[in-house]
Amino acid sequence: MNQHLSATADAAVPIGTSDVPSDVVRLVELKRRFGVTPALDGVSLTVRKGEILGIIGRSGAGKSTLIRCLNGLERPDSGQVFIEGREISRLGERELQPLRRRIGMIFQHFNLLSAKTVEENVALPLKIEGRPRAERLERAAELLALVGLLEKAKAYPASLSGGQKQRVGIARALAARPALLLSDEATSALDPETTRSILALLKDINRQLGLTILLITHEMEVIRSIAARVAVIDAGRIVEQGPVWSVFADPKSAITQSLLGGIRPQLPAEIQSRLTRTESGEAILRIDVAGEAARQPLLSDLAAAVPGSFRLIHGGIDHVQQQPVGTLFLAVPGNDANHLTRVIAFLKARDARVEVLGHVANPV
């Protein structure tokens, strides 16, 4: 971290000197507490130009506070927020206003104005910028075409479905040609199918316009289908971050593992409940493979190399960001300790992570 920042943060840090220009957002040791509970407890994070970064955490983990610090809706107690190289956490409301026009935001409950038509909603950021009416309407039509709702231009939001409302929200967020799009649980109020179409739209926009997107969510499925990088937040701290496929393949923290629980293969509950430490019956192995290791014919190679049997209980290979990420559960006869050792040794030699979960007395 640059040394001069902490000392002269309030004395207008020169624009662009403080960080790499390709970082749209850089957060340094952000702290914010409400009463005695810390909502943010030292968050440092960067969002690179053109990427989709997902921040995931349970409710109350500090996600909303974090995203609100980025456009000054929330003020950190300490730490710095750099937007396109400019420190904004000490700026006054008036100085923040032009800056917020560089940052679009979409919301869980859409927050469309009920008294305005769809096109008036989309054009509002331009009205705030003081653009002439003709230009506003032209831009609104362009954006409504982009989100596929041109025919609803004159309708009022109340007549739209949830997914359509969020499309309008997205069009509105893009109106002022922002450098960054913040998505605050934008799909949490939508059904799975609509969620997929909204996420596909966001991904399209990211690709077509090169727009940087930061989204917060509590659903791993959202991260999996759209984000390139993920940061996991818990109790106001970033506990883990990295490319989505690698976090999926090898989650380090308990909270990440638990958040992944819903979409990664899990040991079936009836087997889980019968696991014992006593080494009898079958040994249950959990095998995690990712990347190159998951592209190999692992099980047939295992069968060829190690004499003796094993059974596949559960599992599969998933594809995250075009990378295979797999979890397999095997049952290996436990009466021959050597056999088990050889199986484990073979798998480890093939870059798989192997864990003996326990033993099950009677074969399932």
Binding site: L96, R100, R101, M105, L113, K116, I128, A158, R172, A176
Partner: protein, 218 residues
């Protein structure tokens, strides 16, 4: 009813309409900004200032707790200062407006307070300032309630204007008391009541129509 009484009735209707419309308009012009000030200065408002909020609230409550007939008399010096006289229809408009403004401010406050906070946040996130929030979010979103509240205020003003007869303001209430009650002209009393019912129903109907046209929430 004699032609003279009929002429009196017509004049009284005009006086009532004049008093109600003028003081209604004044209460709208001053009451709506007051209502906005009340929610803007409240905790979490766009111009939070609890001290100003409490002071405003106290003044409004003070005016609202004085019975109108007393306000009418107590404000005579103020009326004389503004209108030049303390007697007549125009003189009644001053106390009517002063009573209706805090009343309407409270009604407007309730509607404005119901505007979803998420909408204000969305406007802030777009880079809007306070004025933008008031003009583009608070007032348009609360407009159905603001109009419905104005209808209620107008109906209340028709009732209050009857008391203005006490300072010689004329109007339907005054006519009903002096002719219908004190001179036992039952036909006048009946006519006044019918006219009042028509007036109130008409205002309410027009208000409801306007609200229905403005409300896009469902």
């Amino acid at each position: 009813m004699s032609p003279i009484l009929f002429e009196l009735l017509i004049r009284s209707i005009w006086e009532t309409i004049l008093m109600t419309a003028a003081s209604g308009l004044i209460s709208l012009v001053f009451g709506l900004p007051l209502g906005l000030a009340l929610i803007a200065t409240d905790r979490g408002g766009i111009a939070e200032s609890l001290w100003v909020n409490r002071a405003l609230g106290a003044v409004i409550n003070g005016f609202r707790s004085v019975p109108f007939i007393i306000l009418l008399v107590a404000l005579i010096p103020v009326t004389r200062l503004i209108v030049g006289t303390s007697i007549g229809t125009w003189a009644a408009i001053v106390p009517l407006s002063i009573a209706a403004t805090p009343y309407y401010a409270r009604i407007a406050e309730v509607s404005l307070r119901e505007v979803d906070h998420g909408l204000i946040e969305a406007a802030r996130a777009m880079g809007g300032n306070r004025w933008t929030i008031i003009r583009e979010v608070l007032v348009p979103e609360a407009l159905p309630g603001i109009v419905a509240g104005f209808t209620v205020t107008l109906v209340t003003l028709i009732g209050a204007s009857a008391m203005a007869g006490a300072i010689g303001a004329g109007g339907l209430g005054d006519l009903a008391i002096r002719y219908g009650y004190q001179r036992f002209e039952t036909s006048v009393m009946v006519a006044v009541v019918i006219v009042l019912i028509i007036l109130v129903c008409g205002i309410q109907w027009a208000g409801d129509q306007l609200v229905a046209r403005l409300d896009h929430r469902v």
